[in-house]
């Protein structure tokens, strides 16, 4: 049974509070117990506490599947890119190196690539993925576009990402501010861009936690 068309997955990094509830919930799932498939990344650990949850973006033309020499990574009818098929995966790491989002991880214990499959056992029967069901701040949202628009009128979903010369269109959408809504997220440029937010000192010995200095 495919994931219902009207149910979509949205990530809002602004809302992530770094509580790791998603990581814990993902690790408790029966299909890969003890191995969380979601990653919580720090955006700029030296200067900010901001975290961002990283799930598989389920690309329309998945780079991981394109580079797989064993024909092990398959896309479902509804666009969900599944974890490597166990009998086929040879553990070559090609997908780990190729994925522009850095999602697939090699499990050396099983010699198998494992990655987020949007909790296909749950979403295909109309339930939320584990991470979205526990996220307390709504950084991970699984629901209809209408409900999202009603609850978050200032956000707009984007599903095109630019990595140098490669444009990646995804099933999972990233929420961006509606004002000046970008057509796509230029990931490589964003990596070298200075933060526009307030600088936060993580070292309490320096005195004030917030120095209030704006960076432009």
């Amino acid at each position: 049974m495919p994931v219902p068309d009207d149910m979509e997955f949205f990530i809002d990094p602004n809302r992530c509070i770094g509580c790791r509830a998603c990581v814990q919930a993902c690790g408790e799932c029966d299909t890969h117990r003890g191995h969380p498939m979601i990653q919580l990344e720090y955006v700029d650990r030296a200067h900010s506490t901001q975290t961002v949850p990283v799930v598989c973006m389920h690309c329309e033309s998945p780079t991981c599947a394109e580079v797989c020499p064993a024909d092990a990574i398959k896309k479902e009818e509804d666009g969900v890119v599944l974890s490597a098929r166990k009998p086929r995966c040879v553990g070559c790491n090609n997908c780990v190196l190729a994925c522009p989002f850095g999602v697939p991880k090699m499990d050396t214990e099983y010699d198998l690539m494992m990655k987020c499959d949007m909790c296909y056992d749950r979403t295909s029967v109309g339930r939320k993925p584990m991470c979205a069901s526990v996220c307390p701040s709504g950084a991970l949202f699984f629901g209809t576009r209408e409900r999202l628009a009603a609850e978050r009128p200032r956000s707009a979903p984007v599903n095109r990402f630019q990595f140098g010369g490669q444009t990646v269109t995804t099933k999972v959408r990233m929420l961006t501010p509606r004002d000046g809504r970008p057509e796509y997220v230029d990931v490589v440029s964003a990596m070298s861009e200075e933060s526009a937010g307030k600088r936060i000192s993580l070292d309490p010995m320096l005195g004030a936690m917030y120095d209030g200095e704006d960076e432009t």
């Binding site: 329309e60 033309s61 998945p62 599947a65 394109e66 990574i73 398959k74 896309k75 009818e77 599944l82």
Partner: protein
């Protein structure tokens, strides 16, 4: 209707339609429904090749059996002098025509019998049980009649091959094998 293997689902990275893509892209599709799809022609080809392979195997086995199963002229082989076997005694001997190890039995003064020793079930060596006039296979508790070689109990269904004997001036010769009938 577009056949499933030609239907365009996941776009190739170069953006060109599936018809312009190299053949391997259709052979190794990223989409699961196409990966699991077996075309009627492929299925028929597989079935036909399997049938041909099975038929060829049968012919090969038949030829092999025919070559190996042809009767060879039995050679007479001396086993023992008749007076060296006591009544109720047993003497093992090798007779290649009967499959190797055999047993020579003397149930009474006038009778000499010889059987192949390999159990017709799985080939364990049978041992004589003089009291019950049986040949017992210890592996699966099979039992054969020690006078006819017929199976009496346990898994064996075919009788033991019986070695034909000849008494030539007090020396017993194995002169052939009566193959067990099914």
């Amino acid at each position: 209707m577009i056949p499933l293997e030609m239907a365009e689902r996941t776009a190739a990275p170069d953006g060109r339609p599936m018809a312009e893509q190299p053949a391997w892209r259709r052979d190794f599709p990223i989409d699961l429904p196409q990966d699991q799809y077996v075309a009627r022609r492929d299925f028929t080809r597989f079935m036909m090749m399997t049938s041909v392979a099975c038929a060829a195997g049968q012919v090969l086995l038949g030829v092999r059996n025919w070559l190996h199963g042809r009767p060879v002229a039995a050679t007479a082989q001396p086993i023992a002098r008749a007076d060296e076997i006591p009544v109720g005694g047993v003497k093992p001997f090798l007779y290649p025509e009967a499959g190797g190890p055999c047993l020579l039995l003397r149930p009474d003064a006038q009778t000499f019998l010889a059987f192949g020793q390999k159990c017709t079930h799985l080939g364990c060596a049978v041992v004589p049980d003089a009291e019950k006039k049986r040949l017992l296979c210890p592996c699966h508790k099979g039992a054969f009649d020690a006078t006819t070689g017929r199976p009496l109990a346990g898994p064996p269904r075919r009788p033991l091959p019986r070695v034909a004997l000849e008494n030539r001036d007090g020396v017993l010769y194995a002169v052939g094998v009566d193959e067990p009938s099914a």
